[in-house]
């Protein structure tokens, strides 16, 4: 029994007194603050008063705001020590039980999480005496919020209770799986997998499989689609010989469900399903199912399946992999390339290149290359972008030259697309492409594009283009920069359009570090300094900003001799902003 802090009163108790009073302050931020410091209050009160006074108060004040309740639910999960250790941990159950019936899902979920956490600190006797009765109360509660929460607690108390209690728990779960309300059935379906993991195998087969089958045929779509997730967990637990009888019928039913949302879930979980059922069932059942999903009448389903093509193929058994892909999967993939829906094509484009590593050089050239080229010319920009972003897989297998003929027109078209976001996306791939295509190819074909972007109408493009140049210089090196980029960038400094002149300054700021001291001092600095006399104030204050940025790259002598006088002059400029930035630059560079 710990002594209460500060028995002589005043200072040490005062802050705690404030915290306690603020637990019910009008201002929600103050209440939230107090709740977050609940452990401080509990420490000051001592374990007994925490148990007998604080917890009852917290149990009944559940009308508060979500944020406060969420914080409370979280705090209570770590309160075991503060109530006196594991022998008293069950005192935390009443407030958490209250929180588990709140309508706000995030609060309920956090309460359940905390309950799960403290369940491990209950002794088996306490589990029987306190925890399981709580679960029972929640499971038979009037409100479906409490029944939903109960679903999340079965798996943590089951392992350590007596046989008869286990039987009760199984019974409760059964009841909740056929609850009147869809919310509860959904909660049960989503916890089916984790409950199955703690059940003895005989009960998985006798109890859980029928429940699983029932949920998978529920009249509510939202329940059936959760059963698909449970399918994966259950399949992982059962021995191979039982899968065909106990799981496959339900899975087959799901792949042919009338509701596209259920079929979508199957497509989405396909790789997990594949791993769970093993190679034989995959060959016999999943391959035809996958074909059907790729040909589904609903585009969303086709797109979900298309996303899984690479993963599915990768995980096929090594001996039959090539045959299956060539005979069963590839024909469907070919159809998808000309799908009417752009999301489907786009999903396919993001994974199709990965097939080349699986199929090898010859098959790639004969069968896959035409598909890549077709998608490279697709009318939807996203499709083309997805192909371009995955070139490295193909590069490994057949080298980029095969594609480069078609690649270039595709890149150019994207680079000049009317929508600026499309142009932005291709710029972002430029450093990657440059790396894959090599310096020579880049210089020949892509250099002019990169320069054209610097003078795009849209600022976001000019900015991205500048950043792009920096990355290219990092990749190809300073001497490459000097021969190919720097002259063109510096040439823009005399462009009649002030925006372009400013772009020169932005580029210089971005490139100076990568280019190094010599290039910066000998080539870039003179241009910057000259622009300090520009007519347009915007250019002038950007000169100050650029000098601030490139200053650290320069030698001190250059700083003092050349930069300082210019900044001093700018600091007396007519324009307010020019003065401001000049002074700032001088401060930062210690020239003031």
């Amino acid at each position: 029994m710990s002594k209460m802090a500060g028995a002589d009163g005043d200072d040490s108790l005062y802050p705690i007194a404030v915290l306690i009073d603020e637990l019910r302050n009008e201002d929600v931020q103050l209440r939230l603050n107090s709740i977050k410091k609940l452990s401080t209050i509990a420490l000051a009160l001592g374990v007994e008063r925490t148990r007998t006074e604080l917890l009852p108060f917290l149990t009944d004040t559940i009308y508060d705001e979500d944020e406060v309740l969420l914080a409370l639910a979280e705090q209570l999960g770590s309160f075991t020590v503060l109530v006196g250790g594991p022998e008293y941990v069950h005192c935390l159950l009443p407030p958490l039980e209250s929180l588990a019936t709140v309508e706000e899902t995030v609060v309920r979920d956090k309460a359940v999480e905390s309950l799960r956490k403290i369940s491990h600190e209950h002794s088996p006797e306490d589990l029987e005496a306190h925890f399981e009765p709580l679960v029972k109360r929640l499971a038979s509660g009037d409100w479906f919020t409490s029944r939903t929460s109960a679903c999340g607690l079965f798996s943590v108390c089951y392992p350590r209770v007596s046989k008869s209690t286990k039987s009760e728990i199984r019974q409760h779960f059964r009841t909740l799986c056929s609850d009147d309300t869809p919310m509860v059935r959904r909660a049960a379906a989503s916890k089916l997998g984790e409950f199955a993991k703690v059940l003895e195998l005989e009960y998985v087969k006798s109890d859980l499989i029928p429940l699983f089958a029932a949920l998978a045929s529920d009249e509510q779509d939202s329940v059936r689609l959760l059963a698909v997730e449970a399918c994966v967990s259950i399949a992982q637990l059962l021995p191979q010989e039982d899968l065909e009888k106990l799981v496959m019928p339900t899975l087959r039913q799901a792949t042919e469900d009338k509701s596209w949302r259920v079929r979508y879930m199957v497509a989405d979980k396909f790789s997990e399903l594949q791993k769970a059922v093993g190679p034989e069932i995959t060959e016999n059942d999943l391959v035809p199912s996958f074909q059907n999903l790729l040909k589904d009448c609903e585009a969303e389903v086709r797109a979900a399946a298309a996303n899984k093509v690479k993963e599915f193929c990768e995980n096929l058994p090594a001996d039959s992999r090539e045959t299956i892909i060539m005979n069963s999967i590839l024909p469907c993939v070919k159809e998808l390339v000309s799908d009417t829906n752009q999301h489907v094509k786009s999903a396919l484009a993001s994974v199709i290149m990965g097939l080349s590593t699986i199929l090898g050089k010859d098959n790639t050239i004969e069968h896959l290359l035409p598909l890549f080229l077709a998608q490279l010319k697709d009318e939807c920009p996203e499709v083309r972008l997805n192909i371009i972003s995955n070139l490295d897989c193909v590069n490994e297998v057949i080298g980029i030259r095969q594609l480069s003929q078609s690649l270039l027109p595709a890149i150019v078209e994207l680079a000049e697309d009317a929508k600026w976001r499309v142009r932005l996306a291709i710029i972002e791939y430029m450093p990657l492409l440059a790396g894959q295509l090599g310096m020579e190819f880049f210089d020949e074909k892509l250099n002019s594009l990169c320069m054209a972007w610097l003078v795009d109408h849209v600022y976001a493009i000019r900015e991205a283009a500048t950043c792009n140049l920096m990355k290219l210089v990092e990749r190809f090196g300073a001497s490459w920069a000097q021969s190919t980029i720097v002259p063109k960038v510096l040439g823009m400094a005399s462009d009649p359009n002030y925006l372009h002149r400013m772009t020169t300054l932005f580029c210089i700021s971005a490139l100076s570090e990568a280019c190094g001291q010599e290039i910066t001092t000998k080539q870039m600095l003179p241009i910057v300094l000259k622009m300090s006399e520009d007519q347009v104030a915007n250019v002038r204050f950007n000169v100050a900003k650029s000098l601030q940025k490139i200053g650290p790259v320069l030698e001190n002598s250059a700083l003092q001799a050349e930069v300082r006088p210019v900044l001093e002059k700018l600091a007396t400029d007519q324009d307010m902003d020019v003065k401001y930035f000049a002074q700032e630059a001088m401060t930062v560079l210690s020239l003031a």
Binding site: A17, I20, D21, L45, E103, S222, S259, A299
Partner: protein, 426 residues
């Protein structure tokens, strides 16, 4: 006698799933909830009256700056959510925004401060020698309404319907051209499931007038149109439900054709029966009951006020022809009810084929008196209690009403007054 304030005009009436609560929304954006008294053994003849339980301002008037348009705060529809814990939840919507409200009771408050005396005086910090944890004490029952979710920015046109799905997870909102599907937990995203906007707006001929989810099939919903058609859609078939599964339309009676035919065929309300087997539609002059399995014509047609057929021209001139009447089923789907003019409302018994016209007005009925059936005289000699068509007051229209889910209690909104009628206890 106070002036009629337009903001008090009731614009929607809805019982909750048990009938314990009755919500009304008005033109001023307010929601008033009535609660049925618990029946007491002492006064058995005083069967549960409805008293005000909570009043709150649901929507405020807004201004759309982009289009320079005012957004009215009038509540178009209220729909209750099934009860999930001790609090009550409802969705209320105006033309553009749907809100989820929580109505809950608080009967206790914390007592006992550390820094203040029990009489409220601030204590000297040095006198605090012990910490006090507050204790909850009973207080007068307080009912609070708090907005829990706001679903906005999803509708270009005016929202006419909201409907909660039987999965208790999603609901739909319908405007003139589009229907969106929402998850009750997610406010920043909604899925469009029906879009009838033509590529060229000049080709627009038809708008959506009402929409509802099937009471127990989570994948089925219907929407009605201004051309008198109803489409039933299956959300399982496709993500975008532009193609209907069933199309309900009654072939036009050529003898009744007139300049106003299309206008009066516009369906103002559609409601599924509780059983889910039938649906009911209301157009200007009739109420029709349809069997969901038969698309070619309705099962039953009831004339609400056919005497207006010869008056359509003047009703067009005073805009009454565009009034949108609602219709309701009773709990067992055996009787249907809808409103008319002169504060009249009509009930049709589907089994006995009998119908009755009643009036909701203070002048003509005293509390707890039995309502007398009314009759409209359509020419010829007018009997004593009858009223002639030309004397009907077209400004007194009953557009909104509701029927208790299991008992014979009805709530009828007559402009700014709410009437609650009960079956006589024998």
């Amino acid at each position: 006698m106070s002036e009629l304030s337009t903001s008090d005009i009731i614009s929607t009436v809805e019982f909750n799933h048990t009938g314990e609560l009755l919500a009304t929304g008005d033109k001023g954006g307010r929601v008033v909830i009535f609660q049925r008294e618990q029946e007491s053994k002492n006064q058995p003849h005083r069967r549960g009256e409805y008293n005000v339980y909570s009043t709150f301002q649901s929507h405020e008037p807004e201004f759309d700056y982009l289009k320079s348009l005012e957004i009215e705060e009038k509540i178009n529809k209220i729909r209750w959510l099934p009860q999930q814990n001790a609090a009550y939840f409802l969705l209320s919507t105006n033309d553009k925004t749907v809100k989820l409200w929580k109505v809950s009771e608080r009967g206790r408050r914390p007592e006992g401060y550390n820094l203040k005396d029990d009489d409220g005086r601030i204590r000297d910090p040095s006198t605090i020698t012990m910490l006090r944890v507050p204790v909850l004490q009973p207080m007068d029952l307080m009912v609070e309404a708090t907005p829990r979710r706001v679903f906005s920015n999803a509708h270009t046109y005016h929202i006419n319907s909201i409907s909660v799905n039987s999965d208790y997870e999603t609901y739909m909102s319908a405007d003139d051209l589009r229907i969106n599907l929402w998850n009750l937990e997610i406010t920043n995203r909604s899925f469009n499931i029906v879009d009838i906007k033509p590529a060229n707006m000049e080709e627009l001929t038809e708008v959506i007038t009402a929409a509802e989810f099937h009471p127990n099939q989570c994948n089925t919903f219907v929407y009605s149109s201004s051309k008198g058609t109803i489409r039933l859609c299956d959300m399982r078939a496709a993500a975008l439900c532009d193609k209907h599964s069933k199309f309900f339309e009654e072939p036009e009676d050529p003898s009744n054709r007139s300049f106003f035919s299309e206008i009066i065929s516009s369906i103002s309300d559609v409601k599924f029966s509780h059983s889910g087997r039938y649906m009911m539609t209301r157009d200007y002059l009739t109420v029709k009951v349809w069997d969901l399995n038969m698309e070619s014509r309705p099962l039953e047609t009831y004339q609400v006020h056919d005497y207006l057929r010869s008056k359509l021209c003047s009703l067009y001139e005073n805009d009454c022809i565009f009034d949108k009447f609602e219709c309701v089923w009773n709990g067992s789907d055996s009787v249907i009810m809808t409103g008319s003019y002169n504060n009249f409302f009509r009930m049709f018994d589907r089994n006995t084929k009998r119908d009755v016209t009643l009036e909701a007005s203070r002048e003509n009925s005293k509390p707890r008196a039995i309502l007398k059936p009314r009759k409209v005289c359509v020419g010829g000699k007018r009997r004593k209690d009858e009223i002639s068509v030309d004397s009907l007051d077209f400004s007194k229209k009953i557009l909104h009403s509701a029927w208790h889910p299991s008992e014979n209690i009805i709530a009828v909104a007559a402009t700014n007054n709410l009437y609650i009628f009960q079956d006589k206890v024998n």
